[in-house]
């Protein structure tokens, strides 16, 4: 970490970063979606997500040391749940890349990256809380914003709010 130095923002092409990952993991990741607002690729082999994450963090040409955001997303038409991770090489290269990982809607699970980026710890808990996918290997898989005994997964598109919670009428 070059402290004190004005960090270079000459963002390398996200595409170049993608090429490095693609070289290593090949068919396990999808083609690069080079849109203007949020360039991303998808991890097709979900089981490899932790390895890809570790590779992205530690590879000398990638150094995605900063996880800006991890959002859980519901894809009802595909029957899947997923996450979108916005990664960035903070202070090293400055490049940004988003990664999508998906899992089946019912009983699906995604490997946890809480051991790679500490940020992921609470964000994965939040994704679990809101959408109900499990994160394998997460150190503390509990609900975080909703109470522990809340029923259902609020951010799923087909979510129906429970009738009552400890005798309190919920839908108003």
């Amino acid at each position: 970490m070059e402290e004190g130095k004005v960090l270079s923002n000459a963002a390398q092409e996200s595409g170049a970063a993608y090429a490095v990952i693609h070289e290593k993991f090949g068919e396990a990741i999808s083609a690069f979606d080079d849109n203007a607002t949020m360039p991303f690729f998808e991890v097709l082999d979900t089981a490899l997500w932790t390895d890809i994450a570790l590779f992205m963090r530690d590879h000398p040409k990638l150094k995605f040391n900063y996880m800006a955001c991890l959002s859980g997303v519901d894809y009802p038409e595909e029957g899947k749940l997923g996450l979108v991770a916005n990664l960035e090489s903070l202070g090293v290269f400055g490049h940004k890349l988003a990664v999508k990982v998906k899992c089946p809607r019912e009983g699906g699970s995604i490997p946890s990256v809480a051991g790679v980026w500490h940020t992921a710890n609470w964000h994965e808990r939040e994704a679990y809380d809101m959408l109900g996918m499990l994160f394998e290997g997460h150190p503390d898989m509990r609900r975080i914003l909703c109470p522990d005994d809340w029923e259902g997964w609020p951010l799923r598109k087909d979510y129906k709010v429970q009738e009552s919670y400890h005798g309190i009428k919920v839908p108003y």
């Binding site: 402290e3 004005v6 923002n9 849109n35 949020m38 900063y66 800006a68 997303v73 051991g115 940020t119």
Partner: protein
């Protein structure tokens, strides 16, 4: 998993200085006590609950519990139009409403690919920097209260009042503004606003210095904060810290500078980081110092903006505001530098609806707070309070 743990970057150093380690009685067997700090506690800054495992005065483990202020922001977003989300963002970080609005509007405008009038950008920057000062004043003031000094708090609130009055004059509200709209502003600033802002800047400069001296030149304040809750830079990045927290750890990273938005590239301002002379880099005092120094930088930004701001001829604050916000299908992650760090919005649009398919707020406080468990290990209860205060969390943003 074993391997992953080993690969985890760095490890937290014990944040107690070696000469102040508290030695407990060696042969005396003591029982640990569970102490529930919050949700109603004066120094958890809202409804945070920390379940502390304490051994006498030493906190061996503190587990944060959130959600007491969860207001389903993200669920609401899926049911209202894009412009109608703006008032909800105010209610996330209620101490810096304008900054939250700005972050959200930046994300949506990026998705819409909108061109914003130049004057709008200047006004946005002025009001958001004013709000940043107000927010930092609250942070510094409440931090002083956490450490037992009541007077700086009221000095801070006295000056914050001037800012709130100005923002009320410009926007019509004191805290929940709904001023920055997608593509523009609700209104132009009133006539004479610039003069009043300049007057405030001139009034406030010496006061800011006085405030800083009142605290950083106070021996007890320095004793209470120096070397407490040290966060090394690499761990801070790994935790996703941003804003004054990350800069307090010595990383010169500011989204206004490193991933610029709006008119920040045209402005001349410094990104202050602690030099390690007064404080230990990464400790509570560093984070406090960064906030104090940032106030000065914000004042500079405001002065420059007023200097360069285009006139009102033919200006309509709503000229670029779309009649109906319906972005094409796609995703965006837009972010801005908030007083508390990076506030980002991940928005997913299906191209058909006028409300987002998914809108996730990446809250800086939420991320900063997640390091609490590691920071609190082995601290004394008064230090725990000092650490929570230095994180400067707003529970409205943590819980959304």
């Amino acid at each position: 998993m074993q391997e992953l743990e080993m690969a985890g970057q760095g490890s937290l150093r014990l944040s107690r200085k070696s000469d102040t380690i508290v030695v407990l009685e060696k042969d005396l067997s003591t029982e640990q006590m569970v102490l529930s700090m919050g949700p109603q506690h004066p120094s958890t800054h809202g409804v945070l609950r920390l379940e502390c495992l304490t051994d006498g005065e030493v906190v061996t483990e503190a587990e944060p519990y959130l959600g007491y202020l969860h207001r389903c922001f993200e669920k609401h977003c899926e049911h209202v139009d894009y412009p109608a989300i703006v008032p909800y963002t105010d209610r996330m970080d209620y101490l810096a409403g304008i900054n939250s609005e700005m972050a959200y509007c930046i994300a949506v405008e990026k998705l819409l690919d909108l061109e914003i009038p130049r004057r709008v950008e200047f006004i946005r920057v002025i009001v958001s920097e004013l709000n940043r000062i107000a927010s930092h004043l609250v942070a510094i003031g409440t931090y002083a209260i956490d450490l037992g000094a009541f007077t700086p708090f009221l000095f801070c609130f006295r000056d914050r009042e001037h800012i709130l009055n100005m923002l009320e004059w410009a926007t019509g509200a004191r805290m929940l503004y709904n001023y920055i709209w997608v593509g523009g502003l609700a209104y132009d600033v009133p006539a004479g606003f610039n003069e009043r802002v300049l007057e405030f800047v001139n009034y406030f400069r010496p006061k800011a210095l006085e405030l800083q001296q009142l605290l950083t030149e106070n021996e007890i304040f320095v004793k209470r904060t120096k070397g407490i809750g040290i966060m090394p830079a690499d761990v801070a990045i790994n935790y996703g810290w941003s804003g004054p927290m990350l800069r307090g750890s010595g990383v010169q990273w500011d989204i206004r500078r490193n991933d610029p938005y709006s008119i920040y590239p045209e402005l001349d301002f410094a990104v202050p980081v602690p030099d390690g002379k007064l404080s230990v880099v990464g400790d509570c005092l560093s984070r406090h110092l960064v906030r104090a120094l940032e106030i000065e930088e914000s004042l500079k930004i405001i002065e420059q903006c007023i200097d360069k701001m285009p006139g009102t001829q033919g200006f309509d604050p709503r000229s670029a505001v779309p009649k109906r916000v319906r972005p094409k299908a796609g995703e965006v992650y837009g972010r801005a530098e908030n007083p508390r760090g990076e506030l980002g919005f991940y928005i997913q649009s299906d191209g058909k609806s006028t409300s987002p398919l998914r809108c996730k707020a990446r809250s800086s406080c939420f991320v900063n707070l997640s390091a609490m468990k590691d920071l609190s290990r082995g601290q004394l209860i008064p230090d725990l309070v000092a650490i929570i205060g230095s994180l400067d969390i707003v529970l409205g943003e943590v819980d959304r």
